[in-house]
């Protein structure tokens, strides 16, 4: 099956600053694809070029098999999108907004169905300016689904939401995945990307640094894991240093530690050493490499800096 989205060498500059510097990626059908990066990395600019909010300087954009730069209106018939902040007229109700936006498409979902699905029935006839942040964002998601889209674009949908609203939205996005929707999600929350996305692209300075499933990115990382342990009596530091595949060995009384890239090999070797010296293992902690560690390794900076 051909990819739902194919982006090739996308570029966009603002007054000499290149916000998108040759971005290329593909999104497969039914996949939730995340773009992870700090603010100003170029995620939103890339997404806005794809959904037709901005005219790219160069590059090709193919969405659902359609050249999005040549036929943006046709692409818009097939996609749904929720921006970072969705604003509507202050006095419009959710029901009216869904009816209005539904009228713009060849096919649309009845407002009542969407209100039910996104738990907005109680607020269906409340003016937009009386809704909470989470309710507004749920309405934005409902609007994104008003045309039964083949592909959904979510631009940092949980930014600024309280933890409960964020959890609710995560639930909605997880449901999209269960329903087989293809989703492009931009976020600067690593846990959100890790939890929701099948694949992610780490973006920085307008470029995609790497792309892959979160576990593959971690696995492919050159970072080492820290292993800390406690024994019944001190271990010989020189023997510990001879274990294969470890670095930075250290022993401080009954506490010892080392770093390794291959935990599956290093741990059996440690156990064998302790048995040979008749030292009992009292405790063991293996540090986990996180996506954030990978991000810092790749970009040289923390995500929320």
């Amino acid at each position: 099956m051909p990819a739902k989205v194919i982006i090739r060498d996308l570029r966009k500059s603002y007054g000499g600053v290149e916000a998108v510097a040759g971005v290329s990626f593909e999104i497969q059908d039914g996949e939730i694809f995340g773009m992870l990066g700090p603010n100003g990395a170029g995620k939103t600019s890339t997404l806005e070029c794809v959904i037709g909010l901005r005219e790219p300087d160069s590059g090709t954009i193919e969405v659902c098999g359609i050249d999005a730069r040549q036929h943006p209106q046709e692409v818009k018939q097939r996609i749904g999108a929720a921006l970072q902040t969705t604003s509507l007229q202050d006095k419009i109700t959710g029901r009216e907004a869904l009816a209005l936006f539904g009228s713009f498409y060849r096919r649309s979902v009845p407002p009542a169905d969407l209100l039910k699905r996104f738990s907005l029935e109680e607020k269906a006839d409340a003016p937009f300016d009386t809704l909470s942040g989470g309710q507004k964002q749920r309405l934005a998601l409902a609007l994104a689904f008003v045309n039964q889209p083949e592909l959904v674009f979510l631009d940092e949908p949980t930014t600024g939401l309280d933890p409960q609203s964020r959890r609710e939205l995560h639930g909605e996005i997880a449901r999209m995945k269960q329903d087989g929707h293809t989703v492009l999600l931009t976020t600067h929350y690593i846990e959100e990307a890790e939890q929701l996305c099948d694949r992610i692209a780490i973006v920085d300075h307008g470029r995609i640094i790497t792309t892959g499933a979160p576990k593959d990115l971690i696995a492919a990382s050159k970072l080492t894991q820290l292993v800390s342990f406690e024994t019944s009596r001190p271990v010989d530091a020189a023997l510990l240093g001879r274990l294969p595949g470890i670095t930075e060995p250290a022993v401080d009384g009954v506490h010892g530690r080392f770093r390794t890239r291959d935990i599956s090999r290093a741990l059996p070797e440690l156990i064998r050493l302790l048995e040979a010296q008749q030292v009992q293992l009292a405790g063991l902690v293996v540090g986990k490499i996180t996506l954030e560690d990978v991000f810092i390794e790749l970009t040289g900076s923390k995500l929320r800096e």
């Binding site: 037709g52 909010l53 018939q77 921006l83 604003s87 007229q89 202050d90 009216e96 009228s103």
Partner: protein
């Protein structure tokens, strides 16, 4: 209507109804303007009909300069339009839907305003359907300007500033709130007003409310349509989905010329049209530049006849008559009492007229005799008048055309719609007016002059245009030479004849408040107008 367009219109109208400030702005302000006009023009009869064009234009301008762009820019600032942009609906549909909704809002305000004026004034529009057409054209044209404002302004406060830049000049200089007739003595303002679309908007709607419909004001109708097209093109080309989308770069700036250029084009066209077209009711006469030094009397080859001053014994009318001949040379006036100290008595009766005086003064009858016998020359002393007599008229002491007394509109001074309506009313009623039917030509000319003199004395707003109408009427009925002689006679004998015509001006459908005590002043004005007309006819 497509489903999406219907939804846009319905939602826009709902938002409008839910916004109390917008409602107040759209419906309370027109009422305030209506009340202001009611106070200003409380003496109009019927009330308000002469200002419908102005009232409706103010209402439309308010919606176009503030209502539409404020809504558009506010929604754009909030990102509503950006959300629209995510959908496949084309921008033209959004714009058209928004304009249509705004048009409906303004239409309701306009209908309410017309109904209120009809109830207050007790009239109905002359051409209701054409009034709706004109209203629609004007609304769309001015809404186009609203689109331009929305495109230029980044914020709502900027809309207010830009809106005022169009709204106020249109009101003050474009003839929307202040009638152009108020600028009659400041000709550059009149020229300037030709470059403001508000003037044409007022004209087309006024002509439909009280006039001959759109036909006679085709140029103004065209100006309105062109204004709308120019603004529409600019508004569409500079349209922005979101506030950060800058347009003042590259060639986009040039699209502003589509709006400004059309205004200039229309103004130039109007000025050119003014120079090549006569105002209805205005004869092709030379403009008087009074006061002027009288030209030296042309020498007639014929022997100079004696001054045709009626011979003694002059009746009391003639004795007190004020001949406006220049001081002596050869002629000695019978009793040269100054006008100021010689108020004319009431009109003489035939019984006291001398035989030498033609039946001019006695001609009171409105029904001509079945077979009027031609008057003998001896009974028509004015027929003896020549250029020598014309030249002796005291033109130097006649008030100037651009003053308050006996004014005559300058060649570039156009009547506004209200004035046109009054002039048209007089023009249509004049042929059937009793005083215009008298068989005595001198009295008939006097009676017609009373229209100019009385309206001048009453300071009606048409006073400076009426002289053209009067001369048009006289010139089409009396040979020029004869008319010149009669006018000269009247100038020399202002207090002769019957003055009852002054009291019958209202039969022409215009308001004029005349008392018996006004008659001497009116006679004096007739005298001055007669003098001006003589010089006019002679091309001096």
């Amino acid at each position: 209507m497509n489903g999406d367009l219907r939804e846009i219109v319905v939602v826009t109208l709902r938002m409008y109804v839910r916004n109390r400030m917008a409602l107040a702005f759209s419906y309370v302000f027109p009422v305030l303007f209506l009340l202001a006009f009611l106070v200003l023009y409380k003496d109009d009869e019927p009330l308000l009909i002469r200002h419908m064009g102005e009232l409706l234009t103010v209402t439309i301008l308010g919606g176009a300069c503030f209502g539409l762009p404020t809504t558009m820019v506010s929604e754009r600032e909030h990102g509503v339009w950006r959300r629209y942009r995510l959908s496949p609906v084309p921008p033209a549909r959004i714009i058209f839907g928004t304009l249509l909704a705004r048009y409906l809002m303004i239409l309701v305000a306009g209908i309410l305003q017309v109904i209120a004026c009809m109830l207050i004034g007790g009239w109905t529009p002359e051409h209701p359907f054409q009034l709706w057409v004109a209203f629609t054209l004007v609304t769309l044209a001015l809404l186009g300007l609203g689109l331009v404002i929305a495109a230029l302004a980044d914020t709502v406060p900027a809309v207010q500033a830009l809106g005022q830049c169009i709204f106020l000049p249109m009101l003050m200089l474009g003839g929307v709130a202040i009638p152009l007739s108020a600028y009659s003595e400041v000709s550059w303002l009149l020229h300037l007003s030709a470059f403001f679309p508000g003037r044409y908007a007022v004209e087309v709607m006024q002509q439909c409310a009280q006039g001959d419909g759109l036909g006679p004001v085709w140029f103004s109708g065209l100006a309105v349509v062109l204004t709308g097209l120019g603004a529409g093109v600019t508004g569409a080309k500079l349209f922005r989905w979101d506030a950060h989308q800058r347009f003042l770069t590259g060639n986009k700036k040039a699209w502003l010329l589509a709006t400004v250029g059309v205004w200039i084009l229309i103004g130039v066209g109007a000025e050119a049209k003014r120079m090549t077209t006569k105002v209805p009711g205005r004869p092709s006469l030379k403009k008087i530049s009074a006061p002027v030094e009288p030209a030296p009397p042309p020498q007639s080859s014929a022997p100079v006849p004696p001054t045709p001053t009626p011979p003694a014994p002059a009746p009391q009318v003639e004795v007190k008559a004020e001949p406006v001949v220049a001081p002596p040379p050869p002629v000695v006036v019978t009793t040269p009492a100054p006008v100021e100290t010689a108020p004319a008595p009431p009109a003489p009766t035939p019984a006291i007229l001398p035989a030498a005086v033609p039946p001019v003064a006695a001609a009171k009858t409105e029904t001509p005799p079945a077979n009027p016998a031609p008057a003998p020359v001896a009974a028509e002393p004015w027929k003896a008048y020549t250029k020598v007599d014309f030249a002796r008229l005291d033109i130097a002491n006649v008030p100037p055309d651009n003053g308050n007394v006996t004014p005559i509109a300058a060649a570039n001074d156009e009547p506004d719609m209200s004035q046109r309506a009054d002039l048209a009313q007089i023009e249509s009623a004049l042929p059937k007016w009793g005083p215009a039917q008298v068989t005595d030509r001198v009295q008939m000319v006097r009676n017609i002059l009373y229209i100019a003199g009385t309206l001048d004395e009453s300071q009606t707003n048409t006073e400076r245009f009426v002289p053209y109408l009067v001369m048009n009427y006289l010139q089409t009925r009396i040979p020029t030479e004869e008319l010149t002689q009669i006018l000269c006679w009247i100038a020399n004998h202002p207090n002769d004849g019957d003055a009852s015509a002054a009291f019958r001006i209202q039969e022409l459908g215009v308001f004029a408040n005349v008392d018996e005590q006004d008659i001497p002043e009116i006679r004096r004005r007739n005298q001055w107008y007669a003098t001006k007309f003589v010089w006019w006819l002679l091309g001096w």
